[in-house]
Symmetry: none
Subunit: 208 residues, 4 copies
């Protein structure tokens, strides 16, 4: 929740400030990130920063929100079509969307991801309030649905598999960013399919 003074800024200046902040939080953890460095990089006075934001937590949360919003844009269409897709097809698309988001917004990905994985619970509460989304629970629901539709082996341990799948999502993004740096969307598709093939043949419903 930046102040109105920030919203009212010329677009160019807003971008300069946000970029400086994103660069800073991508390079440093929340605690070690420096407001002074941000203002210097953005070319604004220190006092100005505090006329735009309520403090370090405020701008961090704002960037966190931007990240969430932008990520949702990569996924929105999927959630609309949820019912018409099989579990594996939906999952494939979610993985692909996640990877594309991470590839296109590597710093935002690093910031949000790093904070969720690394920050102390106390800090998380202070910065984000109770808004930490339980991605796990969403996957659990999908799995349960898939079981009901006879797409997935009913004998799996839903909680464990959900945890694994969530982790693999992050893992995959990291793999691409760190080692593959694939600009080509085709490569992403191929990788995801390889991975899904592994998963699918393992937990697929084999009834009858």
């Amino acid at each position: 929740m930046p102040k109105d003074t920030f919203s009212n800024l010329p677009e160019e200046k807003k971008q300069r400030i946000l970029e400086a902040a994103i660069d800073e939080f991508a390079e440093y953890s929340f605690e070690t990130a420096s407001i002074t460095r941000i203002t210097e990089a953005a070319g604004i006075a220190k006092g100005s920063f505090y006329q735009y934001f309520d403090g370090k937590g405020d701008i961090f949360k704002h960037i966190f929100d931007i990240s969430g919003i932008r990520k949702m844009e990569y996924m929105r269409h999927l959630l609309r079509d949820m019912d018409s897709l099989t579990f594996f097809e939906l999952f494939r698309q979610l993985y692909i969307a996640g990877i594309k988001f991470a590839r296109d917004n590597p710093k935002l990905h690093a910031i949000a991801d790093g904070f969720v994985k690394n920050a102390s619970p106390a800090l998380k509460n202070e910065v984000l309030g109770k808004a930490i989304p339980k991605s796990n629970e969403f996957i659990e629901d999908l799995l349960t649905r898939g079981i009901g539709r006879k797409e997935i082996d009913p004998d799996i341990d839903v909680k464990l598999i959900a945890f694994i799948l969530t982790s693999l999502s992050i893992t995959l993004s990291e793999y691409f960013i760190r080692d593959v740096k694939a600009e080509d969307d085709m490569e992403i598709l191929v990788m995801v399919d390889k991975m899904l093939s592994m998963i699918e043949n393992g937990i697929k419903y084999k009834g009858e």
Copy 2:
């Protein structure tokens, strides 16, 4: 690489210092960990610390090494028997060893793991130099061997699967520590088998 002055210290004192440092790094990130708190907890003078170590990075790296060494102790016997075990059996044991290490040494696990996953590349280089162990490469070798022995599907993408398996190892440890807190070794076995069953049915060699 602590200085000789540290190695020459009476064992009891060395332990006191290391414990204090492990406690500190388990509770705080590398950047926010405080040398002052460590020396106070260890009951030594601040100046002494700098006669034993080259700074914060030095003692951190030392603890990192200790963690690696101790983890190896959980795995050493496996590596001796490598040839007599199938890929999947070996792998099962490696997972189990990893989980047991994390359970028995939760602070060391948290420190090493947290640093590897969370620290900025710049910091990692500064602290660890190029010494980041390529655990991946070890797994890649195992996979290649498994393919040669006709235990594993030759069509898999070795690099990708190695990356995934490494991640899953960490993921599993976290799952246990965070959600299961199983004191009982039996539970660990059950979980690992569930997970391996997923992996195995996915990448196992199905030829002929």
Copy 3:
């Protein structure tokens, strides 16, 4: 000396600004009072404030003046009748007027009083210039007159007693505001008379 821009303001706005400033200075010392809070409470732009006043000192001095003027209104009629009253009767009325002013204008009283008693000489000079009213001198004159009229002991140390009487005036107001909170004018009269009886029996002219 507010600027003309302030004098030209609609009465309602002027009042809003002065009230906000009085509230602020009543709650905070001169140095910790905040212009920002004043403008916010008054509902005016920060820039506007500096178009009305020359800074924090300027508006403070203005309020100080208002306080003096209003206090004078409680005393004006007394000064008209000065010649027809004995020293002690006049003094009694002055005390009563002072207490009533403090009771009716507690914030103004607190501001002016606190500043006179508490601010550093440097600050006083900076804010008030040489305008610190010599209330003492007025009392000295009264005493000298009283001596001439054979109402007061000629052996007293006029300067010292004038200083004491001035202090006691402030003391009395404080005593009422802090400890008595008398709404009832009767109580004020009783207190003042007790106090005057002490003074009177001490310095009254006893000759022949």
Copy 4:
């Protein structure tokens, strides 16, 4: 409660620091006093200050304590002889002691006095805890004792007179410091006697 590091300092350095702080607090209120200025005046590093004291409140409280202790030294002998002195003689000595303390330690007098009279209750509690001495109550006791001994008019309003006498004590000190600057102890005695003569003839027991 300065830290041991301060107590262990060479006397000369301790004095330099305390003097710098006393100068600062004599010139500025608690809130506007600047630690930076103190360290600069004392010629020490900012970090050193925080190795000696727990913060601004800590050194202020220390100075406050010094002031109280030193003041007590001016009065200690009086309190021992309390029973052998009449109310007026004891009172005379207390006034004299207070004035001498203020004259010899004008800055300490200004700091302690200004803080007690001026600081907000919240700040007082934060800085001093509940240790604010009720000087009034001590005077009330003396008055009551004086009445019992038939030295003082039993008809006086004890609470009011105690309040007045306390105020006059401070008033007198200020009068001397500001206007008289008497180096000569004789002058103090003369002034106090003039003042006491006023008080005495007013409230003295006149029974029989």
